[in-house]
Symmetry: C2
Subunit: 277 residues, 2 copies
């Protein structure tokens, strides 16, 4: 689909959801680096008539720590604009009276402080990175095998993400590992889960067709949003790969160089008069 | 199927293949422990008219080290009677001119000494156990993603095995992880691969219908053998679980308490005169 096409269709939009890692910034040593033009792109969206939310599958740090990092990189973002899997998981665990065994990054533990964790009756998996040791994965496996009906939650299902110069394995890979080991199907909390996108839409008070998702992950950002009835545009930053543009099942509504370019195209038609077509 | 039934059918057999871990011994601290009656059961098979081979997916140690352990446990077994995935992998790598990046247990490295490993163009995965760190798995992932066509070999595809009091994740779990991460299908070397079973049959000079496989793993031992046309009997030791007896796709020709009992039933009809039925 030509850039002009999605941009023209975007005139009726009332809101935008932005993925964060790979769209706003690239992770790496320390805080990582802002992707050129993205700080200004966020500013321009905030000054427009569009509602704006951020939606991340980041689960290595609490939202507070994560947003503080984004602020240091120059982004004007507050915690209540950011949707991430951990708070959604906490709400779900409490609602169902579940006690998780957590296999998550130490940085995420503060999010689960209010949840009872003794005598676990489920396992919650996050992007534990270096905490995905054989011992830790085996411990989670043994908890699951000790349950009458193994219950596994995964905070996202990403395959990998880019950090510095290299690709790093993401939580979805370990989710698949435990699914196979225990012969269970995990329940995914976070993108691309419809429940997760709908919680963001509810917060915006908008319908799916009124909202555009912009992300670097074709399946989890673009595909997930489209499954909910939203438009999905992919940017060629972060984990984008050329092969995404000929993917077997997901086709983005548009593919743009970066967030700056996508926001240019999104806003160009908003001040211009509507042309008959 | 009643015990008597497979036992009666076994009269026409000319050979037996035994799985090792969970059938001959239970792994655990040090050498582990022989399963009661199994040392004598192996002796009785060796004194019978049946040919005998051992077939293991063990990949934590070289065959030499592994067989020495079995000998210390009291078993009369020699290296050339044992079939394991690493030598099969080495033969295949040389035949195809492949240079592996190895993600295997340090104990297995001697098996691969004769194989060129610089500038890898494939990944070979073994039961690396504690060497399955996040860093090591990520390194194997990056090698695969750096190849034009990722090529992954897995020494077995087991889900878990029993060690001492607990279950431990096996190589198949990490195979599934990398398959998902790289969107590839691994080539399995070892049980339940038909190629692997056929190499044992060739060595025995027997046809599949002349051979019985006895193992504790319903899918990889029993199912794998049956797929080749052999009979497969499961023992209720090692990783056996009650649920195996109502498995969706694999049904053992017989299920017996342990190797001693299986050998009792196997040999009882060999000296007795054939009865008309």
């Amino acid at each position: 689909m030509a850039a002009a096409e999605w941009s023209r269709r975007s005139q009726s939009l009332k809101g935008v959801i932005l993925d964060m890692c790979g769209v706003l910034y690239d992770s790496g040593a320390g805080d990582g680096v802002a992707i050129p033009g993205s700080v200004e792109a966020v500013q321009r969206l905030k000054q427009s008539d569009l509602q704006l939310r951020f939606c991340t599958n980041e689960t290595q740090a609490s939202r507070e720590t994560f947003v503080a990092k984004l602020n240091r990189l120059g982004f004007d973002i507050s915690v209540d604009e950011v949707f991430s899997p951990a708070p959604a998981a906490v709400a779900l665990l409490k609602e169902r009276g579940l006690r998780p065994h957590l296999l998550v990054h130490h940085g995420l533990l503060p999010e689960f402080e209010s949840v009872e964790q003794k005598d676990p009756n489920c396992v919650v998996l996050g992007d534990a990175a270096e905490f995905f040791s054989y011992q830790n994965l085996n411990q989670a496996f043994r908890v699951l095998m000790g349950l009458e009906a193994p219950l596994l939650f995964s905070l996202g299902q990403g395959r990998y993400y880019k950090e510095g110069d290299g690709l790093n394995l993401d939580v979805g890979v370990y989710m698949k590992a435990l699914e196979f080991a225990c012969d269970v199907k995990a329940e995914v909390i976070g993108k691309p889960s419809s429940m997760f996108f709908h919680s963001v839409l509810r917060d915006m008070g908008l319908q799916p067709h009124e909202v555009l998702m912009i992300g670097d992950d074709l399946v989890n950002d673009v595909g997930g949003a489209q499954s909910c009835g939203m438009m999905g545009v992919q940017v060629r930053t972060g984990k984008y790969r050329q092969s995404d543009e000929s993917h077997a099942s997901v086709r983005a509504d548009g593919t743009e160089a970066d967030l700056r370019r996508a926001v240019d195209l999104l806003l160009v038609h908003r001040d211009a008069p509507r042309t008959s077509s």
